[in-house]
């Protein structure tokens, strides 16, 4: 009996395995193409240029700032969506998920119409404070946050909804104040999802292109992140473009693999 079961487990249906391999190929084949084109000998020289350093710094700063901003406003948003009943909640949830679905270029254009110098909010903001968001590093952070924050909100909201509220109830019964319950019970229990959401948000922010170039423009040292540098280099200097692409793949893969075992089990 056990022998039979063991054999079943060790021999999965061939069709499934074949399809799975095909599925994996979708991800792996482009990577192989990139590796095949990589100018390995020139790689160190290509990756130490000023433009690469600028783009790497900007990508790190903007993706981390977007992750922090998402944590500050996205986690409360997830909490409200999970715990507060209000009319139109499903519409709000749809609005939050919208950036996952619409093309980032559309998001960038919408940001420009809203927060540009002549935009709905941007114009009064500019007149009151002199602040101009497009074509600035702040513009990059905003565009990247727009595209990446939904990953944090849906992950944390899902975790909060799945949380057994009896733990929080018990803590409250024992006299804990609401903030204490949040800090000592709720957050520790959703910590794995929270971290997973933050990592996903950061990874998406690092790869953001469309909203950034549409809203924040493209200038080395100020708004040209790694994806933008790859895009520009692809049309002028393919070796640099490939080297930059490889750098992005390496950074993303390293972080995702390193965190996978520890934090992703909840996903």
């Amino acid at each position: 009996m056990t022998g039979l079961r063991k054999r079943r487990v060790s021999r999965p249906p061939l069709v499934l395995v074949a399809l799975a391999v095909l599925g994996l190929a979708v991800f792996v084949v482009p990577l192989l193409g990139l590796l095949a084109r990589t100018p390995w000998r020139d790689l160190p020289a290509l990756l130490t240029g000023e433009i690469v350093a600028d783009a790497l710094r900007l990508s790190m700063v903007s993706s981390l700032a977007a992750t922090a901003l998402s944590a500050v406003v996205g986690v409360p948003l997830a909490w409200v969506l999970a715990r507060v009943e209000f009319p139109g909640r499903s519409i709000v949830r749809g609005l939050v998920l919208l950036p996952l679905v619409i093309p980032p270029v559309v998001g960038g254009a919408a940001l420009l119409f809203a927060l540009g110098r002549r935009g709905l909010i941007g114009e009064p903001l500019n007149q009151a404070t002199g602040l101009v968001l497009p074509f600035s590093t702040w513009g990059v952070v905003l565009a990247v946050t727009f595209v990446a924050m939904p990953f944090l909100v849906i992950t944390v909201e899902g975790a909060l909804r799945n949380l057994d509220s009896r733990y929080e109830g018990a803590a409250a019964t024992l006299g804990a104040k609401r903030w204490t319950v949040l800090r000592r019970v709720t957050f520790p229990m959703i910590a794995p999802s929270l971290v997973a959401g933050l990592v996903l948000t950061w990874a998406r922010a690092l790869g953001e292109f469309g909203a950034t170039i549409t809203f924040a423009g493209n200038l080395p040292g100020r708004t040209q992140t790694l994806p933008l540098a790859v895009f520009v280099a692809l049309e002028s200097d393919r070796d640099t473009a490939v080297a930059l692409s490889l750098l992005m793949v390496a950074i993303s893969l390293a972080v995702l693999v390193a965190l996978r075992g520890r934090w992703w089990r909840s996903l």
Partner: protein, 254 residues
């Protein structure tokens, strides 16, 4: 590589998708399709040429794949089976030709000049290239890989101006849109782009001595799935009728 959608990559994908649709439909009827990869600055003129050509050739469907010439070049070199390539400068065409992708000799069909575009009413009071050095203005140029970026760089060098650039846009239409929206104070585009956006942007001339004349070559591609249609289209662009449409849009005859 990167799991994001990007405007020109997206255009590349649209190009490929168009090709797939084209090849998918070719056998299903007597409709033949000509896929034309044309520089972004040709947008308005080629839309009109497309309509005129289709009217003169019933049963032929022209599909325009518009983008920065360098992005189009990369698509063609990457194997996207377009029929015709119309570039905004000779160098992108030359690279496609060196790769053996051009059938015959590319022919210069039109010329264009540069102009400074400013939002309608010229709120920043731009009077010439020297104003592009003003730090307090938001200045946009085309990325140097696209022809308008390369020509703009030459014109600024001719005028001895070091521009205070705030963004390098991936193609001339993207730049024009941001100027028209008032998000940029000035940028260098083609005369024809300004002519296409009357009411949204105004043009400020660049002195002839500093200006750069852009030559646009057109050619049938070696891998053209529809060589006859491609040849007809190129002949139409070079004909009096085609040239009249281009001149109407502000281009100069070669």
């Amino acid at each position: 590589m990167i799991a994001v959608s990007e405007p020109a990559r997206a255009r590349a994908v649209v190009g490929f998708a168009a090709v797939l649709v084209v090849t998918g439909c070719a056998g299903s009827g007597n409709q033949s399709t000509v896929l034309v990869s044309a520089a972004a600055s040709l947008t308005d003129a080629f839309v009109e040429i497309e309509a005129a050509f289709e009217e003169a050739n019933p049963g032929v469907d022209v599909v325009l794949n518009l983008g920065g010439s360098s992005a189009l070049r990369e698509q063609i070199l990457g194997g996207a089976p377009a029929d015709v390539f119309a570039s905004a400068n000779p160098s992108n065409m030359a690279q496609v030709r060196e790769a053996g992708e051009v059938d015959g000799e590319p022919r210069v069909f039109i010329r264009n000049r540069l102009q400074i575009a400013v939002p309608a009413g010229n709120p920043a009071g731009v009077t010439g290239p020297a104003d592009l050095a003003r730090e307090e203005l938001l200045i946009g140029l085309c990325a140097e890989a696209v022809p308008c970026g390369e020509f703009g760089r030459q014109a600024l060098a001719n005028a001895g101006v070091s521009a205070a650039v705030d963004t390098r846009e991936p193609d001339v239409r993207a730049l024009l849109t941001k100027i028209g929206a008032g998000e940029l104070d000035a940028g260098i585009v083609y005369v024809t782009d300004v002519a296409s956006s009357v009411g949204e942007v105004d043009g400020v001339d660049i002195a002839d001595a500093d200006n750069v004349v852009a030559e646009y070559p057109i050619a049938v591609l070696t891998g053209a799935p529809n060589r006859d249609g491609a040849t007809d289209f190129v002949e139409f662009v070079l004909s009096d009728e085609g040239r009249a449409i281009l001149v109407k849009h502000g281009f100069e005859s070669p």
